[in-house]
Amino acid sequence: MMPVDYQSALHPAGPQAASIAQLWWFMLAVCVVVYGLVMATLVAAVFRAHAVRQAQAERSLTRTVTTATALTTVALFGILVASVRTGRAVGPPDGPVDPLGVEVTGYQWWWDVEYQSPSPPNTVRTANELHVPVGRPVRILLAATDVIHSLWIPNLHGKMDLIPGRRTELWLQADTPGVYRGQCAEFCGLQHAHMALTVVVESPAAFEQWYAAQKQPARPSSTTQTQHGEQLVTRGPCALCHSVRGTDAGGRPGPDLTHLQSRRTLAAGTLPNARQPLEIWITDPQHVKPGVKMPPVGLSTEERAAVVAYLETLR
């Protein structure tokens, strides 16, 4: 089970999120003080026994108001400086770094995650789950092919939009190992609410292990049931949209299923990844996630059992 506040801007797990949180606390302090002062003066002004107005009083009032305005301007300038400095701090690093390059593409309503690698066979493709090693800068290239989405992992950084026809990027780094949650923050249609991704921050060793496993194609299935399931998946309806590396299934419109079992959730964070949810999901996706692009494919009971059995071998 995931920890409390695994999707919160106030519990930073990396330098970027940390400096933004710092800025937040600073601004909160300033604003609380200002608000307190204004409200106190207001209450005093309303309830004070009023004096007879004379020119003298007006002049002193003018002085007070002018001072207050001047102070406001100064405070705002301070906020501007703090904001710009934070902006620099959370931007792309100036010095030379060896970042981990990830390309995240938003679809209605899931995330395609591709780890770039100088040698093409090392490229790893997964979905709705992002693994990051502790302490290494990550350069996320963002793209969208249908509508505008926005990648937001509050514990690591602010959000950045994915815009069709444009390339955007997001630099982040994670220092605290753990499992965090990100979510689409730009309204993108029917299932905008169910477009989340899991972010796993782990030690470099653990990351390398995971990466190596992800590179592998799917294992051929052994039992008759799983073989039946493989037939259905790779020759049947599933393969038009999903790909399972190492088989004939090469569909692109849907998430890559090669290592489905290595992920924590199904349907972009809609369901936990386990047998029963998986069965429910395959049986009637439109009930679980109304409007999702995955159709009910009308499998018989034993067909479904076979498919689930096969999918469970994809670890």
């Binding site: 069709p164 309806p237 393969a239 038009l240 949209c241 419109p253 439109q286 999702v292 009910p296 009308g298």
Partner: protein, 177 residues
């Protein structure tokens, strides 16, 4: 006052039409969207013609269904052979010529059962609901659907006008490099 008396009737009419046009029909597999039974691939039958019973295309008046069909048309790579309806390896879908019939159920079986000379059978891979959505889109390509349910242009490189405008043929100008 007669108009006033007819108003509710008229409104109901519009309502029914509008609802059919706009409903996002993702939850249900429409009753009529089952696979039609054995469908003659050719009109030639022993013992002369029997009048064919028309099968309704469940999505042909539903904007959402047609749009889904449009998405699948490229997702399932139909445009690989038929292009954007203009045809290529496969026959054009925008013109009036139909090799295997233009009735919804005929289009359905063309996709489901495949056709000689290269059209594969998708029946075993594409669920009925999506097949019907594809049928609706193919009908849209040949302007057989209501204009206010037809999809408009796509957000991609397209030489062709939006499906909704297919019947306003604008002459291309001699200015292309």
């Amino acid at each position: 006052m007669t108009t006033a008396r007819w108003l509710p009737v008229w409104l109901l009419l519009v309502a029914s039409v509008a609802c059919e046009r706009e409903t996002r029909r993702y939850r249900e597999l429409p009753a009529s969207a089952s696979r039609p039974g054995a469908i003659a691939i050719s009109e030639l039958e022993p013992g002369g013609r029997t009048p064919r019973t028309p099968v309704l295309s469940p999505y042909q008046e539903n904007a959402y269904g047609i749009a889904e069909g449009k998405r699948l048309y490229s997702a399932y790579n139909c445009n690989g052979c038929h292009a954007q309806g203009g045809g290529g390896i496969g026959p054009a879908l925008m013109d009036e010529k139909w090799l295997y019939g233009s009735e919804p159920d005929q289009i359905y079986s063309s996709i489901a059962q495949g056709r000689p000379n290269g059209m594969p059978a998708f029946g075993s891979r594409v669920p009925a609901q999506q097949l019907w959505q594809l049928v609706a889109y193919v009908q849209a390509l040949s302007v057989q659907v209501p204009r206010d349910a037809a999809p408009s242009r796509s957000d991609d490189l397209n030489g062709h006008a939006a499906e909704a405008q297919l019947d306003i043929k604008v002459p291309r100008m001699t200015g292309h490099r």
